[in-house]
């Protein structure tokens, strides 16, 4: 099974490094570029959520990211050692409200849940772990 792992402090300045990590995995495994966007979005939203909400008392959590090819799809796991927080407990934003009443924020986790096939949260060993999986329409193109 192809799997890659990286870790960064939960600081927005490290978002480009995470994006590059995911894109490198994509090209190494020969996955079609067009299928990358939902995973790039999921990684950004979950990481930025930890950046925004994970720091308590000035301590910056460490974020660990794993990405792996699974049967017919890709699994992305984001873990952090910040305070317990289940992003799936957030209320869904109103995406049918009129422009005037449309809330400005709160779309991130909602989009992740829409775009991934499954999203699972667990608190384990004093860490938040979010596991996301999505099947791909087209598989890797490395079979030569």
């Amino acid at each position: 099974m192809t799997e890659r792992h990286t870790a960064v402090p939960s600081d927005a300045a490290h978002l480009p490094a995470l994006t590059e990590f995911l894109r490198n995995f994509w090209s190494e495994t020969g996955l079609p570029t067009v299928e990358a966007v939902p995973f790039e979005l999921a990684l950004e939203e979950v990481f930025m959520n930890v950046v925004m909400h994970g720091s308590q008392g000035g301590r910056v959590p460490r974020v660990e990211v794993s990405v792996a090819l699974v049967e017919g799809g890709v699994t992305l796991i984001v873990e952090d050692d910040g305070p317990p927080f289940d992003p799936l407990s957030l209320l869904a934003p109103n995406v049918t409200a009129s422009l005037e009443e449309r809330p400005i924020g709160g779309l991130g986790v909602f989009l992740v849940r829409q775009m991934m096939d499954s999203v699972r949260y667990q608190r384990r060993d004093a860490r938040n772990q979010l596991q996301m999986t999505k099947q791909l329409a087209v598989g890797p193109s490395t079979s030569k």
């Binding site: 927005a12 300045a13 978002l15 480009p16 994006t19 590059e20 894109r23 490198n24 994509w26 090209s27 570029t33 067009v34 966007v37 790039e40 979005l41 950004e44 939203e45 930025m48 995406v95 049918t96 009129s98 422009l99 005037e100 449309r102 400005i104 924020g105 779309l107 991130g108 909602f110 989009l111 829409q114 775009m115």
Partner: protein, 102 residues
């Protein structure tokens, strides 16, 4: 695979064109540019490859501002992956969105 940066500029027909990746690190610059654009009517997204919720926030704030000042903004040449994200966010109901041809 290249890692395109984000670019925003004013086109010859007065439209604003965005290209590359509108992620959380680029949204402040994008919002500033849009806020400083007079008579903003059209945003061309033909070369936009990626957007996340931070970018959606920029689009939503811009649409609220333009609508309050008169006409709303139109998004044109929206590619399928970006259109999917707009649709999930329900933006197709509050913005005039035209998909890319082909």
């Amino acid at each position: 695979m290249s890692n395109p940066m984000f670019e925003i500029r004013r086109g010859s027909a007065g439209e604003v064109a965005m290209a590359g990746r509108l992620d959380a690190t680029q949204c402040d610059a994008a919002l500033k540019f849009l806020n400083e654009t007079a008579d903003l009517r059209v945003i061309d997204l033909a070369s936009l490859e990626y957007i996340a919720s931070a970018g959606l926030r920029v689009i939503l704030l811009t649409q609220k501002r333009c609508k309050a000042a008169g006409a709303g903004v139109r998004l044109i040449n929206v590619t399928p992956p970006i259109h999917d994200i707009f649709r999930y966010a329900g933006f197709d109901q509050i913005l005039d969105i035209t998909r890319a041809a082909g």
